[in-house]
């Protein structure tokens, strides 16, 4: 307890940092309830912009598209990423080249990945649409799921796999009853992470969605709307997305207690 004043100063700094982080967000949340709809003046509490948002067909369709892309790409990348992580861990003696290759999509700039995927799809003459967005999202989500599951595998005791075999289980039974349950928290956390990454991903979706309106995702829709100024509907949309993300984040942290490195 050397210094009460130092401690107070530290609290102040902490408060400022949090204010810097969260004031813009709370302004946005506040404005979503502003009756007048203008960011310049508060004219009373209202939910009318929420109503307006749910009447906007374009936004609803974009939200639906984002949900589809998020769920499908998260599901595919969770299955593949988990299998990849287990496979790599079993053959980890083969060296780090494989590892670098797996994690490359995490560090390659999104814009590069986006251009690469677009060129790839046009080279193969694939018609662009929601399915190409899903495929593109699987590419980078795979790396994230794999990273989360591998972190868990680092502390995985492989002798339980042998113990299961020794007690009479087949390989498939061992996978189902021993390996997957032990890895489950990491797998679910990886899936949730993939979903959230996919939901707010813009650049790659923008490049691989094609020109038709039917395959516009939510971030693309917002980008399109914001070019004509920040409308109150966007504030509402952003508020809903924040709420959704917080719930997912809390869920993921709860499930993955002790799963990620450093937790």
């Amino acid at each position: 307890m050397a210094d009460r004043r130092t401690f107070r100063l530290m609290l102040l700094i902490l408060g400022l940092v949090f204010a810097f982080l969260y004031i813009p967000i709370s302004v946005l949340v506040g404005l979503s309830f502003n009756a007048g709809g203008m960011p310049t003046a508060w004219t009373g509490f209202s939910l009318k912009w929420y109503g307006a948002l749910f009447a906007n067909q374009d936004i609803l369709r974009a939200a639906g598209n984002t949900l589809i892309v998020g769920l499908v790409s998260a599901a595919i990348s969770t299955v593949l990423g988990t299998l990849l992580a287990i496979g790599v861990e079993i053959r980890r003696r083969k060296g780090s080249v494989l590892e670098t290759l797996i994690f490359a999509p995490m560090v390659i700039p999104d814009i590069v990945l986006a251009i690469a995927l677009l060129s790839f799809f046009s080279l193969l003459d694939v018609r662009l649409g929601l399915h190409t967005v899903i495929m593109a999202h699987v590419v980078f989500n795979l790396a994230y799921v794999c990273a989360v599951v591998r972190a868990r595998l680092k502390s995985f005791d492989w002798s339980i796999v042998e113990a299961s075999t020794d007690l009479g289980a087949s390989t498939l039974t061992t996978l189902r009853r021993v390996v997957l349950p032990v890895l489950a928290p990491a797998i679910i956390a990886g899936g949730l992470l993939a979903f959230t990454l996919s939901v707010d991903e813009f650049i790659i979706a923008f490049f691989t969605a094609g020109a038709q309106r039917a395959s516009i995702t939510l971030p693309m829709q917002i980008y399109g709307m914001i070019r004509f100024g920040v409308t109150p509907e966007i504030n509402v949309l952003a508020t809903l997305v924040i709420g959704f993300s917080l719930v997912t984040l809390a869920l993921s942290q709860r499930l993955n207690r002790g799963g990620l490195p450093g937790q």
């Binding site: 002798s159 299961s164 020794d166 007690l167």
Partner: protein, 351 residues
Amino acid sequence: MTTLLSLRHVEKHFGHVRAVNGVSLDIRQNEFFALLGASGSGKTTLLRMLAGFEALSGGQILLNGKDISHVPPNHRPVNLMFQSYALFPHMSVAQNIAYGLEMEKLPRTEIRQRVDEILATIQLSALASRKPEQLSGGQRQRVALARALVKRPQLLLLDEPLGALDKKLRGEMQLELKRIQHQFGITFIIVTHDQEEALVMADRIAILQHGELLQCAPPREVYEHPANRFAAEFIGVMNVIPVARDGAKLTAAEGSLIRADIPDGMGGDLVAAVRPERLRLDAHACENRLSGRILATAYHGLDLQVHIETPAMPKPLICRVTADAAEARSFRTGDVLSLGWSRADTRIFAA
């Protein structure tokens, strides 16, 4: 006694390394058998081959006369208790134990009955619903044992089962394991690097070195009549005295005569060996004698170890003096001490 398990010239090569080199053994029904060796002796590899986790590079493993060399581990009537215990962390104690029985697709009621029975045997009924992380080391060890035993295998393999326990608990569990083995009437093969553990528990001990079988015999014979110098020095403490041979006459380096029975056909350089507890203070009454200066003494509670420097040996001669004898006279560093031992307690090995 019928033979349960036969190893015929079993080989395991990892690249150029021969981890197990032509081991042949017969293990009897209901035997408590110990594979003893230093690390790298191939004892764990041999055990893993019996469990089915390592393929044989040569030879055969027969169980009840049937070749099981190529039977996968999940189809062998053999269970392994892992050194790390390998309990399933997401299952309770009862679920861990039931797992092997569920794999046999037994009816639920029978599974529950057998799990309850074995929980009572290992005195863990009260902890049936705990997770492994909520158990102490000794409790985990017993759950691992129960999980393997509940399947009633014909052969139970135990990989350093007491290695993770503290010394006092280890002593209790040695007797407990013997009791359980007797109660269940299952053949146990235990791998250990702890020679004392092997002596206490096993009916027979196999000593392995560099993947080869050196000796296979009951504990007393292994201790009293080691097959060679390595086995003699590996088990317990052995004083080794280099000797020069002239016909049937053996002399130590400083000139004293060593009387001993030389095994037939033994040639080349020889050593005489005697256990520390066979050395006696009344040297004048003994057939063999050595004297030297006391280098150090080490108090062990039930006896006193006296290290004596003698010109006859490169290493100090070690003698164990019982507690009463140690009280009867003083052993000060630097004192000259004469020790004797009988011809019958002297072993002769190739150097």
